[in-house]
């Protein structure tokens, strides 16, 4: 047996300390809060798993969770195909490339609360270009009162803000495909769809995975924009988990339940990301496994 050399632990110690301060200690504080109750005055009482039990049976939490899942799902369903489509349509060379890239990057450069404010004003029925314009056309649109309009506004806003990210990622994958693949496809008489299905899609799969994960995480944690545009309303119609969490922690100062909710929230994101990752890479692993079979 090799003699163990524990010196390596000292080498990783600085990183460990850094991570402890930036992540582990704050997270543990939340864990600490989640099992205690407080009435202010810095006095805490041990309550065990009470907050978690309460949370998991809470209708408020379930509703917010469902809304958040619905929002993320709709956003992904729209942004991923749309992003791929735009990336495919973008020019591959010439002056158009720079123009398109700059145009695509623009929405990404705008701070979240500014995006929210832009759309909040844009959609207003009294002065907003969109809201007033729709009203003039005789369309009954009011995102502050109508649930459907509120959702529509938020989703269109998110698509406007974040589709660019998917486009840029897919585009980077597409331009990396060597020209010879397209030439071979022409020799093989492949249709446009076959070229997409068997050349382009497999080649951009990896960047697409990153796009899906980023867009899921971001949309699942969305806070600023709905807070600015709808403030969670009308009623609770756009109160997503993050908004609910802030209301609980800051508005009601229920630190214990809020901490428990944070942990559950965090675990859900982790779980869903893991599921996405596993599904999208399982195909790869399968292939590598087959490729490693001994030469027959």
């Amino acid at each position: 047996m090799k003699p163990l050399n524990n010196k390596a632990w000292f080498m990783v110690l600085p990183v460990l300390v850094l991570v402890a301060f930036s992540a582990i200690i704050p997270l543990m504080t939340v864990v600490n809060y989640s099992v205690q109750d407080t009435f202010g005055n810095n006095e805490f009482f041990w309550v065990g798993t009470e907050w978690f039990q309460e949370l998991l049976t809470s209708e408020r939490f379930h509703n917010a969770l469902q809304r958040t899942f619905l929002f993320s799902g709709l956003v992904l369903l729209i942004e991923i195909p749309l992003g791929i489509f735009i990336a495919l349509a973008m020019p591959k060379r010439g002056i158009g490339v720079s123009i398109c890239l700059v145009l695509m990057a623009l929405p990404l450069l705008i701070p979240w609360n500014v995006v929210g404010t832009i759309w909040q004003v844009f959609g207003r029925v009294d002065i907003g270009l969109l809201g007033h314009g729709l009203a003039e056309l005789g369309i009954d649109y009011n995102y502050t009162q109508d649930i459907f309009d509120a959702w529509l506004t938020l989703i269109v806003m998110d698509v406007w803000h974040w589709t660019s990210l998917v486009v840029l990622l897919c585009y980077s994958g597409l331009v990396a495909i060597p020209e010879v693949y397209y030439q071979a496809a022409r020799i093989d008489g492949a249709s446009r769809w076959a070229v997409f299905r068997y050349i382009q899609l497999p080649k951009i799969k990896r960047v697409l995975l990153i796009a899906v994960l980023l867009r899921f995480m971001d949309s699942f944690m969305i806070y600023t924009e709905p807070f600015v545009v709808t403030g969670g309303g009308p009623g609770n119609a756009t109160t997503f988990l993050s908004i609910d969490l802030v209301q609980m922690a800051v508005g009601q100062f229920d630190l214990g339940p809020a901490a428990a909710m944070s942990l559950v929230y965090f675990l859900i994101i982790l779980l869903v990301c893991w599921v996405f990752y596993t599904i999208m890479t399982s195909y790869d692993n399968d292939e590598i496994g087959q490729g490693r079979q001994p030469n027959a």
Partner: protein, 358 residues
């Protein structure tokens, strides 16, 4: 299958942009007989790939017409042309299995499933890849991938010609020979017209019945491997083919004697060189036909000796011109050496083009 004819074909990539025509391919006429095995040989950037892409339709020539069996197909797309092309780097459809890769060109052309299955099975057998039929193409090594690229051409029943664009570049050296032999076998069996682009003379000479040597966008010689070796029509061909290439020495002509820097070489019989202009004359002689003798011939300095196994390459210098000599085993380098050229193997060049043979 069809014969392919290129009529006044020329191409420049910057057509219409800027001034001056910069031909990647200078105007040329060339026919390819049905069922022939051709090699396009030349250094990188000489227009080989351009010529190939014009035949397959990936590139539209800026001038001239492409004819298949006397039918003008210049304006037909690649998809309509029934040409198979194998590229330098293997192209496989990663997510498809080997069998599905082979079926791909047939499915795109809407063939019936039973026909596809039969053809795929045949080609799998031809390539010796039955055992790997259901593996994903991504996991395969480079030579199997290249075999699939080739197989996608072979699987089609409508193919007029198969074009190879340096297909063995990424293949391991010991497999190159094997794959080349397989190609040759496939050619003999199916009699497809095959055009094989390469910059490797061994590949060209072993694969093809006819070798076409290209240089700076033009065809400089078409011939059998033997013709290219014995009578290169251009000094470039002489230097490019052979290892080491042909020795080229500036010379003059005096009667029927060749004079190289004051050293007379008796040809023994007259040569026909245009007399109006005797400038730019060069003598070409293969290292195989140069002998070293003691105290006679053209005096040279020996600068190096390389033993390459079956023979010895002697590097020498004659007035700053490199001259290579190939010695057979057992032959020694004499003291005070001189060069003796075999008169019947001397080729005469004027402005790089062959004007007389010894």
């Amino acid at each position: 299958m069809a014969s392919i004819k290129l009529h006044e074909i020329a191409h420049c990539y910057n057509a219409g942009k800027g001034t001056g025509v910069d031909y990647a391919l200078k105007p040329l006429n060339q026919s390819w007989d049905n069922g022939g095995a051709y090699a396009l040989l030349g250094p990188s950037g000489c227009g080989k790939t351009t010529l190939l892409n014009i035949i397959s339709g990936l590139l539209r020539p800026s001038e001239g017409r492409v004819l298949f069996d006397e039918k003008d197909i210049t304006d037909l797309t690649t998809e309509q042309r029934n040409i198979a092309q194998v590229f330098q780097f293997p192209v496989v459809y990663d997510t498809l299995s080997v069998a599905k890769n082979l079926a791909f060109p047939l499915q795109n052309r809407g063939l019936a499933n039973d026909v596809i299955e039969r053809r795929v099975a045949e080609v799998l057998q031809m390539l010796g890849m039955q055992a790997k039929a259901n593996l994903k193409a991504r996991g395969l090594n480079a030579d199997d991938k290249q075999k699939i690229s080739l197989g996608r051409g072979l699987v089609r029943t409508d193919v007029e010609a198969i074009l190879f664009d340096e297909p063995l570049t990424v293949i391991d050296p010991h497999l190159k020979w094997q794959l080349r032999t397989e190609l040759k076998k496939i050619h003999q069996q199916f009699q497809h017209t095959m055009i094989y682009v390469t910059h490797d003379q061994t590949e060209a000479l072993t694969f093809a019945d006819k070798v076409i040597v290209m240089y700076e966008g033009a065809i400089v010689q078409i011939g059998t491997p033997e013709e290219l070796f014995e009578q290169p029509k251009h000094t470039f061909v002489g230097k490019f083919i052979g290892s080491p290439g042909m020795n080229v020495l500036p010379c003059e002509l005096q009667g029927s004697d060749i004079v190289v820097n004051g050293n007379k070489i008796a040809l023994g019989r007259p040569v026909s060189v245009s007399r109006e202009d005797s400038k730019g004359l060069e003598l070409g002689i293969r290292p195989e036909y140069v002998k070293l003798s003691a105290d006679s011939g053209i005096p040279v300095d020996i600068t190096g000796v390389e033993d390459v196994g079956k023979h010895i390459v002697v590097r020498s210098k004659f007035h700053n011109i490199d001259v290579n000599i190939i010695l057979r085993e057992g032959e020694d380098i004499p003291g005070n050496p001189g060069l003796i050229f075999e008169p019947s193997k001397i080729n005469l060049y004027q402005h790089s083009y062959l004007v007389g043979t010894g």
